[in-house]
């Protein structure tokens, strides 16, 4: 559990029929000052319009997250029970991961109250205090907490770190496992994923996998996106060919500056069974990637450096860490003749990769076709 979501205090606040809004319990004790509560109480015990909304207010260097509940019934004095179980963190904390927990807790307590009057009964309400203590301790320690409340109710809570949206995967992207796929028991997976798993070798792109594994393209894409990225640890890279051209980015210097990236790199790119590649060789190889130089050119020019380095893994690592970037060719039909049809693919918006994939042509075929056309110019970027 990182420092990012540390909970400083858990409080239980309610509307007392005579005293008004107050904090009934808080752990640790006395954490929320009288002053702080006065300032924020309007956001804790709220007007009916704000019930069941996740409210986060920042004041006096603290962030309070709560979800006010209002249960209306004749049996309550003032015909309604208002309460709020909330968390307090430091104002700088990122609290997104805590929000579902607050929501869940508010739901639990509401259920408990509706079923057995857990809150309105003074005796059972006291059980809240040890519950809150345990919550605070366990959530901060492990990010999860399971608490039985009574014979029939148990609370399960877990902090889930926010994930970025899964990336959009294109047909010509190549899935590369970042962990050994042998780690995972095949039978746990659905049929589609099992089918394609063996075709993932770090060099076949999705369209190829789809064709060879005889699985419909969309399914493959979905399987790839969700299962592999989230569970296995897999990234998608553009396909690698020896005719590809790359160039260095300013980040290539991190290979020199950052010892951990250095270590990772040298281990990853060294050929199997060989002595570890030297930093100088690897750096020279990366710097040898320049616009106009294909991977093939690199191999012939730097054959000495490549004795201990696997060039395919070199490129992969470089792409993954953004040390290098790929330069793509974009054909543009510079219109000369008014009568000819406007270009559909040769507009500068589609790279060679895309065009080859869409039309089924090979790189070489496309090259030959375009080289003979005087109206077509090519931009690299």
């Amino acid at each position: 559990m990182g420092m990012t979501s540390r909970i400083e205090c858990i409080f239980f606040s309610e509307f007392h029929p005579t005293l008004g809004p107050k904090i009934t319990y808080q752990v640790p004790e006395e954490y929320i000052s009288r002053e702080l509560f006065d300032t924020v109480q309007v956001y804790i015990i709220t007007k009916p319009e704000l019930q069941n909304k996740l409210i986060t207010v920042t004041a006096m260097g603290k962030k309070l997250i709560g979800c006010p509940v209002c249960i209306e019934h004749k049996k309550y004095s003032r015909n309604a029970l208002l309460f709020n179980l909330g968390l307090v963190c430091d104002a700088q904390t990122k609290t997104c991961a805590l929000e579902p927990i607050v929501k869940k807790l508010s739901g639990y307590l509401t259920t408990l109250e509706l079923e057995s009057g857990f809150i309105s009964n003074e005796e059972s309400k006291q059980k809240l205090l040890p519950i809150m203590s345990t919550l605070l301790e366990e959530l901060n320690a492990t990010g999860a907490c399971t608490l039985p409340i009574d014979e029939s109710n148990t609370i399960h809570l877990k902090l889930i770190e926010q994930r970025k949206d899964p990336q959009i995967v294109q047909e010509y992207d190549v899935p590369v496992f970042t962990q050994s796929k042998d780690h995972f028991i095949k039978s746990q997976w659905d049929l589609t994923t099992q089918q394609i798993l063996s075709y993932i070798d770090g060099f076949r792109h999705i369209q190829k996998i789809s064709a060879e594994a005889d699985v419909e393209l969309n399914l493959v894409r979905i399987a790839n996106s969700f299962y592999l990225v989230l569970i296995v640890g897999c990234v998608f890279l553009p396909s690698l060919q020896y005719s590809n051209v790359y160039c260095t980015t300013p980040k290539v210097q991190s290979l020199i500056d950052d010892k951990s990236i250095q270590e990772e790199c040298l281990t990853y790119v060294t050929k199997q069974g060989q002595k570890r590649a030297s930093l100088r060789d690897v750096f020279q190889l990366y710097c040898g990637l320049t616009p106009g130089t294909t991977v093939r050119d690199l191999c012939s020019r730097y054959s000495q450096q490549l004795q201990r380095v696997d060039e395919r893994r070199l490129i992969q690592f470089g792409l993954m860490k953004s040390l290098i970037r790929r330069l793509q060719k974009y054909p543009v039909k510079v219109i000369r003749d008014e009568r000819s049809r406007p270009p559909r693919l040769y507009t500068g918006c589609h790279s060679y990769d895309e065009i080859c994939c869409k039309t089924g042509m090979s790189y070489k075929e496309l090259d030959e076709r375009l080289e003979n056309d005087p109206n077509i110019i090519v931009c690299w970027k």
Binding site: E49, L279, R325
Partner: protein, 607 residues
């Protein structure tokens, strides 16, 4: 080999169309609503909000709304999803998000207690984030009551505090939230001033509340719902100002108000202004870049001189006008200072200001040795609006053909054709300037790194020497000044110390093999390991004491962070000298070309 998958996730697919990100970014940088609230003797009041709620929807179709489980209810009942799932199933539109909050509830939650005044106010409710700067108008007891006045105290409604609040989507970037808070604070300062001077705010508030009361009575009598705020607009200048602020933030990102036709409040949202390729340049990156401006950089205006001058306010500084008139893409900042007769410090300040406001970018001054290449984010589409503009500006030339010439890195010198008329060359320079202004080109620089071949006779797992970068510490060459540069929209002044000129290493010592020189060389080489020293000394070129001395003197640049032009500037050396040196010592140096990461954010912000 195992990877850390989290690190790998940082990689972005190279040619993914960033439409979804564009949409998301556009969504998150604009406010959903602007709200003015006050608190005083009449209690908490919502004075004005914009955009207006569509009142007809709210009241008459309430029943219809209740059918949908996703609509925000305005009646206050709790609508629970069947499974108790509280997650949002469909993203609500911006209007729906805030429209769901009634005027009264907004007044309650946004008009804070007085002890929250003078500080940033931030409140998040489900998917909406409210940010403002509640400001105290006066101490409650300051109201003077004449003790000798026998007449009963007249109840003068007094305003104690007010707040201009912006509602944003909850997942807006923290820097956007910070900027909105800034704007709220600036408006508050102006309003506070005008209130003290002539009770401006109280008067406007009175007008607003009067209209609201009027409309409420009307609604009660004819029953036809109307938005009171729509009626307020023509009557209240402040309401119009707030509406303008909102509209500007949503469109250009540049806000310019005249509170009470007197005080100017100006503000820009960098996220809207500095956009390239569908992404915005984060303000922190912008600031980092501006802190690293050197005297050898140049300022490139993004508008024509005329257009820029016409945008300046009447009371702008004459220094700025002089700078704009004198600046040019081929002139570096030092020369600009001389030509405009201004201190270099001032030039830095004004330049940074222009850059921040999106009126200029920093480049390396144009010269024939500059090497340019197409920016990875350049739009090279045949039908792009840029292509059209280019054709208009340079008749007879088309943009894609021109761009194709920069497919591979090319220096301007290579375009030189002695048979061409000089006017062609001038036009080429204009085209290059145009392309730089439109973020189509990046400039490549040469960087050098010292990497000595490892010795062969080391056993198994050798502990590699930490690279030179880690060892040669101390000397900070990258920034010339302590540019303490908060956002210029904050009230902090930009404090700059003058760019230190003591970045060059040892003065040019007289030539020859004097013992002083020898010792100097030894000292400089002392930071190297024994092995490295040996290898270097074994290089044939090292036998020449002058060459060795030059090498040793420049050693600290060979970390891959200083490009050729910087070394030339700092050490007052010619390009040919340096290139020869690199060639002589090529067995221990690795050379690479890439863009200058500091200023390349203007061309290619994606990191």
């Amino acid at each position: 080999m195992m990877f850390n998958p989290e690190l790998a996730e940082d990689r972005k697919p190279m040619y993914r169309h960033s439409q979804s990100t564009l949409y998301k970014n556009g969504d998150n940088t604009r406010p959903i609503s602007v709200i003015l609230v006050s608190s005083g003797s009449r209690g908490n009041k919502l004075l004005f909000r914009y955009p207006f709620q569509r009142v007809a929807e709210c009241t008459s179709s309430l029943a219809a709304k209740q059918r949908s489980p996703y609509a925000l209810n305005t009646a206050g009942d709790v609508l629970e999803d069947q499974d108790g799932d509280s997650r949002e199933q469909t993203p609500l539109t911006d209007e729906q998000l805030v429209a769901g909050f009634s005027d009264i509830i907004l007044a309650t939650i946004l008009a804070t207690k007085s002890d929250m005044c003078g500080k940033k106010f931030e409140l998040k409710i489900d998917n909406v984030r409210f940010v403002g700067h509640p400001t105290l108008l006066q101490h409650p007891h300051i109201i003077q009551v004449s003790k000798t006045d026998p007449s009963p105290k007249r109840e003068m409604p007094t305003m104690i505090l007010f707040s201009v609040v912006f509602a944003l989507r909850a997942n807006a970037d923290p820097s956007v939230i910070s900027c909105m808070h800034n704007l709220s604070r600036r408006i508050a300062i102006a309003l506070q001033h005008e209130e003290r001077r002539c009770q401006y705010l109280t008067r406007e508030a009175k007008l607003m509340l009067a209209v609201q009361d009027e409309i409420t009575t009307m609604t009660e009598t004819d029953g036809s719902p109307q938005s009171p705020f729509r009626q307020i607009l023509p009557k209240c200048k402040l309401a119009r100002d707030l509406k303008e602020a909102y509209d500007s933030l949503c469109t250009t990102g540049v806000v310019r108000l005249h509170i009470n036709n007197w005080l100017e409040v100006s503000f820009c949202l960098p996220h809207k202004i500095h956009r390239t390729g569908g992404n915005h340049i984060p303000p922190e990156a912008l600031e980092r870049s501006l802190k690293a401006i050197r005297p050898y950089h140049a300022l490139l205006l993004l508008d024509s001189e005329k257009a820029l001058l016409s945008q300046l306010p009447l009371d702008c500084s004459p220094a700025m006008v002089r700078l704009i008139k004198t600046c040019s893409a081929v002139k570096n900042l030092q020369q600009l200072a001389q030509d405009a007769d201004l201190a270099l410090l001032q030039i830095f300040q004004i330049a940074a200001h222009l850059v921040y406001w999106g009126k200029a970018i920093i480049i390396y001054p144009l010269c024939e040795n500059n090497v340019y290449m197409l920016s990875p984010h350049a739009n090279i589409c045949l039908y792009s609006p840029l292509a059209e503009q280019f054709a208009q500006q340079f008749p007879g030339h088309d943009l894609p053909s021109m761009l194709a010439k920069f497919s591979l890195p090319v220096s301007l010198a290579e375009f030189r054709n002695p048979l061409e008329a000089p006017v062609q060359e001038a036009q080429l320079i204009q085209m290059v300037v145009w392309m730089l202004q439109h973020r189509l080109l990046i400039q490549l620089h040469t960087y050098v790194c010292l990497l000595v071949p490892p010795s062969e006779d080391e056993p198994g797992l050798r502990d590699e020497d930490p690279p030179l970068a880690a060892r040669v510490g101390g000397r900070s060459l990258s920034t010339p000044s302590a540019l303490s540069f908060g956002s210029p929209t904050s009230s902090d002044d930009m404090t700059l110390t003058s760019p230190s000129m003591d970045n060059s290493s040892a003065e040019l010592l007289p030539g020859g093999d004097s013992p002083l020189n020898k010792r100097m060389t030894e000292t400089l080489l002392a930071s190297l390991s024994e092995h490295e020293r040996q290898v270097i000394l074994n290089i044939p070129a090292a036998q020449s004491p002058e060459d060795l001395r030059m090498f040793a003197r420049l050693l600290h640049y060979f970390r891959g962070h200083h490009h050729l032009e910087e070394i030339m500037y700092n050490e007052n050396m010619r390009r040919s000298q340096l290139k020869t040196l690199f060639d002589k010592f090529r067995s221990v140096l690795v050379v690479t070309n890439h863009e200058d990461p500091i200023i390349s954010i203007f061309q290619s912000p994606m990191e």
